[in-house]
Amino acid sequence: MSFIAGVVALALVTALACAVPGVFLLLRKDAMMTEAVSHAVLPGIVIGLLVVGALDSPILILAAALTGLLVVLGTEYLRSTGLVEGDAPLGLLFPALFSIGIILVSRRFANVHLDEHVVLVGDLNLAAFIHLEVGDVSLGPRYLYVMLAVLLLNVAFVTRFFKELQVTTFDPDFAQLSGFSVRRLHYAFMFLVSITITAAFYAAGSILTVALMIVPAATAHLVTKRLAQMMVLTAAIAVVGALAGFGAAYALDAATSGAMAFVFGLGFVLVLAGSRAWSMLRARRALLA
């Protein structure tokens, strides 16, 4: 696999891996939780780097994902106390964890090789740099296989628990009475989200995962009326957006994830405008008929 093909494949797989759980995050109104988790995993990653030494280690990813789960649990606890209103619980915890991460990264504490820039937007080229080789044949970037594993994990979880995720998201009380443990499924799902965000960190950075996770699902939500439809369309949008974003980044020599986020955002605006125009047209036609 050539270097460029490797980068494209990595971008594609990362976008897909993020988009799949994004559907449920959006429908559960947890979109901004993604933003919180993606910042909160930083201290986990830094500590993991100090201990394990490699960004693509599965142990590091799992350990950092646990830090992400900390924000989920903490936010829920703060909400349950009723002391902090609206979405403020979300904004209380992740800056603290991110700050701990930044302080750890700062020169004083460690020689961790984690560039400020990588924290922001990741580094797709760097992530795609080390190729997996069998004999003389390159099988593509090694990190591609880490992301691929995460993608498969997400797809397996979402298809296996489709019915359960659907009913607990739509009507939690009813799901609880039907014998599905809403909390247990929620934590399992959020752990998976946290794993995905940590894994995507290397390729997309801490900030843009929110774009990769939420925007494709939000775009699909504008035009679909069944969950299965929405999932398929979300995946399709992720693929198209990743390719277009990569193309734009290549042309501008910019960070792929930044351009991807922007392209996803533009796509959302276009679909929103299109669907609005379409429904207005239909309403007018119905009025005339």
Binding site: L27, F170, F174, K225, R226, L227
Partner: protein, 259 residues
């Protein structure tokens, strides 16, 4: 022992139940009984704790103290025999699901984790849609339905579940006349086949016409029992302390709240 037929055993009984959110107790020390085979109304003024009582019985709000039994057993043992229809403000109407999808969810409880709905579940969902006269709307997105149709869709979901005891949280709230009749017909059918229905009801003037059992609630149970003996003017006045209640007792008088 399985209790089905009318007035044969108890469908639900609660002892010394206290329910609250955080530290504010909404209901204190409640005893509550539902005999099998009745339509029971839970009535009381706004903020009296009607919905909270229902949620406390079902364990949706964790009780602070007390015990609840269904058909003489713990909830977990008989959960597939208990149906629930939430207040219609409780769900996200923009959720990407068709009416059929929602009704099919009624069968999920009996499938448990992992198993997927198959032919049998689909068939019972279609039958439930038929009974609530929603077949023609099956492929609509749920948000496209009117208030009454939405309520019927949730009733259909409960039917697809094929339970024996149904809890309905304000099933007639904001519902058009046509849907109201459809819903009441189904409820009476269910009672005729030996099922039990408990509904939070917002309109005391129709209790006599619709129900055969009643619980009057205001921060606790004021009175509970058969409608004829319990739904007395005195009990109702005690429940609705400051509200003029006389009009609710003229059997032929038009009810202002049901219009």
């Amino acid at each position: 022992m399985i209790a089905t037929g009318a007035a044969c055993g108890s469908a639900c009984e609660a002892r010394c139940l206290s329910v609250g959110y955080r530290e504010a107790l909404v209901l204190k020390d409640v005893d509550f009984d539902v005999p099998a085979g009745v339509i029971m109304a839970i009535v009381g003024p706004n903020g009296a704790g009607k919905s909270t009582l229902m949620k406390g019985l079902l364990g949706l709000v964790a009780p602070t103290a007390g015990s609840v039994r269904f058909f003489g057993r713990a909830f977990a043992e008989v959960r597939t025999r208990i149906g629930y229809i939430p207040q219609h403000t409780a769900v996200d109407w923009d959720f990407p699901a068709t009416v059929f999808d929602v009704v099919l969810m009624g069968t999920y409880g009996s499938l448990g984790w992992f198993r997927r709905p198959g032919k049998r579940e689909r068939a019972s969902s279609w039958a439930a849609l038929e009974r609530t006269a929603l077949t023609h709307l099956a492929q609509r997105q749920i948000g496209e339905l009117s208030g009454g149709e939405r309520q019927r869709a949730f009733l259909a979901r409960a039917l697809a579940q094929d339970a024996e005891l149904y809890f309905l949280d304000e099933p007639l709230q904001g519902v058009d006349a046509l849907s109201k009749h459809a819903i009441l017909d189904v409820m009476r059918d269910l009672r005729a086949s030996g099922k039990t229905l408990v509904m939070v009801h917002h309109d005391p003037s129709t209790v006599r016409a619709l129900c055969d059992w009643v619980a009057l609630v205001n921060k606790g149970i004021v009175a509970s029992g058969p409608v004829e003996s319990t739904f007395s003017e005195e009990n109702v006045r005690r429940t609705y302390a400051h509200i003029p209640t006389a009009a609710w007792f003229g059997t032929s008088a038009p009810s202002p709240a049901s219009a």
